[in-house]
Symmetry: C2
Subunit: 477 residues, 2 copies
């Protein structure tokens, strides 16, 4: 007798065969109909139980959450809602789930409640769908790059380099926490630590990815990154996954082309490969939004929104143009912005980005050529001497989803910038070496993976798109 | 004019076209022949320079390591060693590389020397080949699992759980390192730390992967893991990447079947997709071994060895059988083992594993059913009450490459084990919940990614198969 997954049985439909399937009970109705799910698909397999001939003790164990092995004949279903079902001839209970204590009962649970049960929430329809989409999206990312001549590189997680400047860092240490050894000056003696120096968790693999791009040509990272920022919001995590492609011989235009093509391709992949999960998530979102006032609901349903991104060009707008648009916009004139836009040079806030994307252009926007002093030191200075070849991709509902730039490839310009910022050149000796030996135009960007999963699944809180979210005061499991 | 990668030009060969290519100079011979490489392939593209008509200043910049853009006509090559070449009509120097200071000159560098130049070593043939194979192998792993119904899950990197017991851990903290806040008892007050509790870097994602397998059915992790062990060897890293599949409804036999099929499939993928890099690495290894005494050289060349693993069944041997073999072996009788095998229950050392794999069976071996007291607490106890359903896959030259088990799915048995070990049940409440609600037979294993890359590339030191190795006293870059 062959063992199948629920997905296989529902798609291959070997009607007439005696089959075996394992899974968990989603619901058990009329002492006869078990909806069985094994996580392989959002859809359940209906198993028809001959309760008149079933041991009573066994029957009592068939409750939501119980793990069963069922064998029987696959037949065309008489009922509605499924094409095939199993006439169960044998049922084995791997493990019961006491309805009195099992928290995941067949009723609506709040997302907040489920966050406390992160080890069980993947057994719900919503989280299993989100996590299957997340998995498909990760594979889409690898597939895209591998098909396009990129090599995957693992940037280091523990870093001795503290010049990245992208945010607060977590310290990694094995020194005695209470009584650390001190040096002659009375400071903590990291010379005695595991790595013989102070080390932190990486905030970005970009600088190391650049070293690899300057040898392998086109590379990408896909790994965890960390920010020790006390941001308790629905958009921030202390531990999140980032994708950072880096390409030798790419200028900013080629970089923008890549970012747009890449994003469209992975959303297309998800549309093609996760349609059932997306349909479920779309319905979930519609349900959720019913309780919201009309003006807070999405303009488009989930799948329509994804298709819209795939099918339409992103609007490319320079920072200078964007400032003009914002300065002359209604909300600015009516003083509706919390941070009014007065002049060129202002850092754009979320409210401005949302206005541009959601109200003005009504499509994804790529902003480029930002003022140098609001962007990172490694971005290439334009000929105007005041803007850099930066670009941000802005998405409706999400804000910045990609940030990138052409990198400063000129040694003297980079040294000048580093010196102005008071960074010790020694800290970046290896990064500067790339400009000393065989330097070339190159570019790259970073994509926050969880933000992309949020966009694709319609989940409002970033904590609901990663298995075990890490945030201030929260490192359970 | 179309821009191509070196790999594209060498494979598509658009002879007669005017093309553009970017890359770095590997060598420049007779003022005429530039061997150009852009990292896309191990092979160089020959570019023929008309030096009589070239500016002298420009000519001087064409040295090893310089980044060039070359355009010209692609023609069939007159010389040996390449099928096509470019007759360069235009050369642009992106960036020079002063031969006086550029460390990567066209001569043999020791691997030790290159470790100090980890930001440049990927520009050598050896490291570019290793890193391309590494990238292909990572993709093969994702492809295998996605094709076989597994979902990729990201286990947390920062963990508040300290019950995994797989080794020494790195502490993650943002508390003042010199003067940490103390609680009433005078201990470090982690309540004031970022996560409100003591946190560490994960040593394994297995326990969290189990929670996902019990919802999604079949999952795998692929992420960094950490060991703060003071092991300065060619086989250990403080930061390394692990793959951990976990499958609901799999017993140990199914687990062993999966491990064997998985390993063969990814090695087959590398053989199929990285043949040129493997040929280069095979030659490198032969060269390296020439300086070794005959008895330390490999029996098989690299590619032959990989094919051997792909084409032959792994030998499955119980621990008990293995002990019998070892007890009666020549080296044991002649007291050649550092740790003689006297009786059942002994933990196997590297010398024993190597004897079994390299001398006795001469093929990969899967050992299973180990004594309970030398294995982890979560492994399923056999009916004999003294062995557990553990399995290790042992490889020639590498030793243990996979370690796995069927997991203890019975609540009481697991509680008993935890209590015997003095672990507080509260630490593992969520792990125990899996046995309370819908428990089932399940299994999984862990594969050390770098060990696998070592095996496929023939590199002797694990520090040479990861971009930026982390080990005691070493966290540069």
């Amino acid at each position: 007798m062959k063992s199948y997954s629920v997905k296989e049985l529902l798609s291959k439909q070997p009607v007439g065969d005696t089959v075996e399937v394992n899974g968990w009970v989603k619901t058990f109705r009329s002492n006869r109909f078990v909806a069985l799910n094994d996580g392989s698909t959002i859809n359940n397999l209906q198993c028809v139980v001959d309760f008149e001939n079933l041991d009573d003790a066994l029957l009592k164990q068939i409750t939501t959450g119980a793990a069963l092995k069922i064998s029987g004949t696959l037949v065309e279903s008489q009922g509605r809602g499924q094409s095939v079902e199993i006439l169960a001839s044998k049922i084995f209970v791997h493990g019961a789930a006491d309805p009195e204590t099992y928290p995941i009962q067949p009723k609506k649970h709040s997302l907040e409640f489920l966050r406390e049960k992160a080890h069980l929430r993947v057994r719900t329809n919503t989280f299993s769908a989100v996590m299957r989409v997340r998995s498909a999206m990760a594979f889409a990312i690898h597939s895209y790059f591998q098909q396009n001549g990129f090599y995957y590189m693992h940037a280091p997680i523990i870093t001795g380099s503290d010049a990245e400047g992208a945010g607060e860092m977590f310290r990694v240490s094995v020194l005695d926490a209470k009584n650390p050894p001190l040096d002659e000056k009375g400071e903590v003696d990291y010379g005695q630590d595991f790595f013989g120096k102070e080390t932190n968790l990486t905030v970005s693999g970009q600088l190391e990815a650049e070293t690899y791009a300057m040898g392998l040509g086109k590379v990408y990272t896909f790994g965890p990154t960390f920010r020790a920022e006390n941001s308790n919001t629905s958009r921030h995590l202390a531990e999140f996954w980032m994708i950072e492609p880096e390409m030798a011989f790419y200028d900013l235009d080629a970089n923008m082309d890549l970012a747009e093509d890449f994003i469209k391709w992975i959303l297309k992949y998800v549309l093609d490969h996760c349609s059932e999960d997306l349909e479920f998530l779309e319905k979930r979102l519609l349900d959720e939004e019913k309780s919201k006032p009309q003006n807070e609901r999405s303009d488009m349903a989930l799948i329509e929104k994804l298709k819209f991104v795939v099918d339409n060009n992103f609007k490319r707008v320079s920072y200078t143009e964007a400032i003009d648009i914002l300065k002359n916009s209604k909300p600015n004139k009516k003083k509706k912005f919390q941070f009014p836009i007065d002049e060129w040079g202002a850092d754009l806030q979320s409210e401005h980005e949302r206005f541009l994307v959601e109200k003005h252009f009504k499509c994804p926007v790529i902003l480029f050529d930002y003022p140098a002093n609001i962007k990172a030191f490694y971005m290439r200075l334009n000929e105007d001497g005041k803007t850099v070849r930066a670009m941000d991709v802005l998405f409706p509902g999400i804000g910045e989803i990609v940030g990138g730039s052409q990198r400063e490839e000129r040694l003297e310009v980079l040294q000048q910038k580093i010196s102005e910022l008071g960074i010790d050149e020694k800290e970046l000796w290896w990064y500067l070496d790339l400009r000393r030996f065989g330097t070339a135009v190159h570019s790259g960007f970073g994509l926050g993976f969880e933000r992309m999963v949020q966009f694709a699944t319609g989940m409002g809180n970033i904590r609901d798109v990663i298995p075990y979210p890490r945030s201030p005061q929260n490192a359970e499991f």
